[in-house]
């Protein structure tokens, strides 16, 4: 067989993770980006900086700290246990939480730029047409931010697929739970199973290429001159 059963399992796990993380980050990151792009609060600067900080730590070190925080003695771990949710590490939800945290800047930064670039004027037009700020956000700001949203989604999705430092640490490499493709390829390489590693990497690259090509269609064409 071309790919082993466990390879295929890891592919579906990865897609589920990446899709979920991207979806969650759209929910979390877009409001954050909106606030960061428009607020005049003095917290804007610091928060802007904090968002990019997860990038600075090596993934497996970040994973280590997340493990400590979400473990039984960590604050998050105590909280989730108190809430009856159990502990997050070594579970799929734990992976999702960690990836969301780590990929946050990939979502926030491009969307923030897109919001900032459109300026106030389209929102003013929407307001005079009776659109509430929330309404205008959905019907004007989001559509106009499409290139930024697309970039953010691509970066988040691709990065979640490729990231494994955090995942390995938090997830524990459990089949069906946290053995995502990146971990699987890594395992193959570590075990010197190069043929399998090449195959799986090739599948991921081709698949991702196709997905990225399809996503290109959402990228608006260049402005066409016009009057």
């Amino acid at each position: 067989m071309f790919l082993s059963a466990s390879d295929i399992q890891s592919i579906f796990l990865t897609l589920r993770l990446a899709a979920l993380v991207t979806a969650i980050l759209y929910f979390l990151g877009i409001p954050m980006a909106w606030w960061l792009a428009r607020s005049r609060s003095r917290w804007r600067g610091p928060i802007n900086a904090v968002v990019a900080l997860p990038l600075v730590l090596p993934p497996s070190v970040l994973g280590f700290y997340l493990l400590l925080t979400m473990g039984p003695h960590g604050p998050v771990g105590k909280l989730t246990e108190a809430l009856g949710l159990g502990l997050l590490p070594f579970t799929f939800p734990g992976l999702v939480v960690a990836s969301v945290f780590y990929s946050l800047p990939f979502m926030v930064q491009p969307v923030q730029n897109a919001f900032a670039a459109m300026g106030e004027r389209p929102l003013e037009a929407a307001a005079t047409l009776g659109a509430s700020p929330l309404d205008a956000f959905f019907t004007v700001a989001l559509p106009l931010a499409r290139p930024g949203l697309l970039t953010a989604g691509i970066m988040t999705f691709a990065h979640t697929i490729g990231e494994f430092g955090v995942v390995l640490m938090i997830g524990g490499n459990l089949p069906g739970v946290s053995r995502v493709v990146s971990v699987q390829i890594y395992d193959h390489v570590e075990a010197l199973e190069y043929a399998q590693a090449h195959r799986l990497a090739a599948v991921m690259l081709i698949f991702s290429f196709v997905v990225l090509m399809i996503l290109q269609r959402w990228r608006p064409k260049n402005g066409q001159g016009g009057a």
Binding site: R121, P122, A126, A127, T128, G130, A131, T139, G223, G225
Partner: protein, 358 residues
């Protein structure tokens, strides 16, 4: 009558706006003033797009802004035509129009009529980037109407339109304001637009209101027409008393027995109309002229002789019955004819522009 009361003070570097305005609750109020005099700024304050401390704004008794109140723009029932069209780039023309229509809170608008009149029916599928300057402006006008507003704010809506287009759109706007009975604040640089459309005139200079009153009154003030340049003149209310079908002319009666002839534009006999008579179109003679192509002759008496913008010119106010007319003459003509206040003269009106039915 006073249904919009606005008091604002705002400072930009090198510019102070300080207005305290009371505007009628219906009819078109023209905002007239030099470039940079604060017209757009005032409109933005009224729309709630800009905000000042200590501003106060009431509309039909409802407070839109004071110390405690701030009604955000989208809750103010207004339509706004931006100085640049400011269309939503991601929507087609139709999408832009529907955007407002969908949010009109059930108020009905006949958008089809607006679309047809503004000549944008063939553009509905286009994106704003594919429109010419004037096309964009026309779409912006239709869009402002799409919300069925209670107050229409128009920032030079016709600036990039040609005369023919303007002449198609102006009557529509006139009709609209009569039919909808909503007040319109209309920024314009074009005195002919102002004279034609406005019921009320506000003249701004350097962030302040320098004149403010009903159109006819304000236009007939001999201290003001200076700002209107070639367009100084008066507006006369009259009744259509006769139709001359063979010559396509209408006879207009005003005051006790005075008449004016003007081109027939299809108005009903007996209806009340407004006509505009420009000072430059009014000549004066001491005796009744003979054999002249000028058909509108009125007997009147000189009320005032004032300076005009050019030292060689004078503005003469002649009372014809109860109606004042302005005439712009050279100072030399005033001298040659020995014109003086109280003197009885003949007024020759070369052209009369029918404005609208009232």
């Amino acid at each position: 009558m006073e249904e919009i009361a606005a008091r604002f003070a705002l400072t930009y570097p090198g510019f102070n706006l300080d207005v305290d305005l009371h505007l009628p609750g219906r009819g078109i109020t023209a905002l007239f003033g030099h470039s940079g005099s604060g017209k757009t700024t005032l409109l933005r304050l009224i729309a709630g797009l800009a905000r000042t401390e200590n501003g106060r704004l009431t509309f039909r008794g409802q407070v839109w802004q004071d110390e405690d109140t701030w009604l955000p723009t989208h809750r103010r029932p207004l339509g706004y035509v931006f100085q640049d069209a400011n269309l939503l780039e991601h929507l087609s023309v139709a999408g832009n129009l529907q955007y407002g229509a969908k949010r009109s809170c059930g108020r009905q608008v006949n958008l089809d009529a607006a679309i047809e009149l503004l000549g944008i029916g063939h553009l509905l599928e286009r994106k704003p980037a594919q429109l010419s300057g004037g096309e964009g402006q026309r779409v912006a006008i239709a869009r402002a109407l799409s919300t069925a507003p209670s107050l229409l704010l128009m920032d030079e809506p016709l600036a990039s339109l040609d005369l023919t287009r303007k002449q198609e759109i102006l009557p529509y706007l006139e009709r609209l304001h009569r039919e909808l009975a909503i007040p319109v604040l209309y920024v314009s640089h074009a005195p002919d637009e102002v004279a034609r459309l406005a019921d009320h005139l506000v003249v701004m200079a350097e962030g302040r209101v320098v004149a403010d009153g009903p159109l006819a009154e304000t236009l007939a003030r001999t201290d003001l027409p200076v700002r209107l340049g070639e367009e100084a003149g008066v507006v006369v209310e009259a009744v259509i008393v006769e139709r001359d079908s063979s010559w396509q002319l209408l006879r207009l009666g005003f005051g006790a027995e005075n008449i004016l002839w003007c081109r027939d534009s299809g108005q009903l006999l007996g209806s009340r109309v407004r006509v505009r008579v420009l000072a430059r179109d009014v000549a004066i003679s001491l005796s009744r002229p003979q054999d002249s192509s000028v058909q509108n002759l009125l007997a009147g008496r000189i009320e005032a002789i004032a300076n005009d913008e050019h030292p060689g010119l004078a503005l003469i106010r002649v009372q014809v019955g109860k109606t004042p007319f302005l005439s712009r003459l050279t100072r030399r003509a005033v001298d040659t004819l020995a014109l003086k206040v109280e003197r009885e003269v003949w007024v020759q009106v070369k052209t009369v522009a029918l404005l609208d039915q009232t």
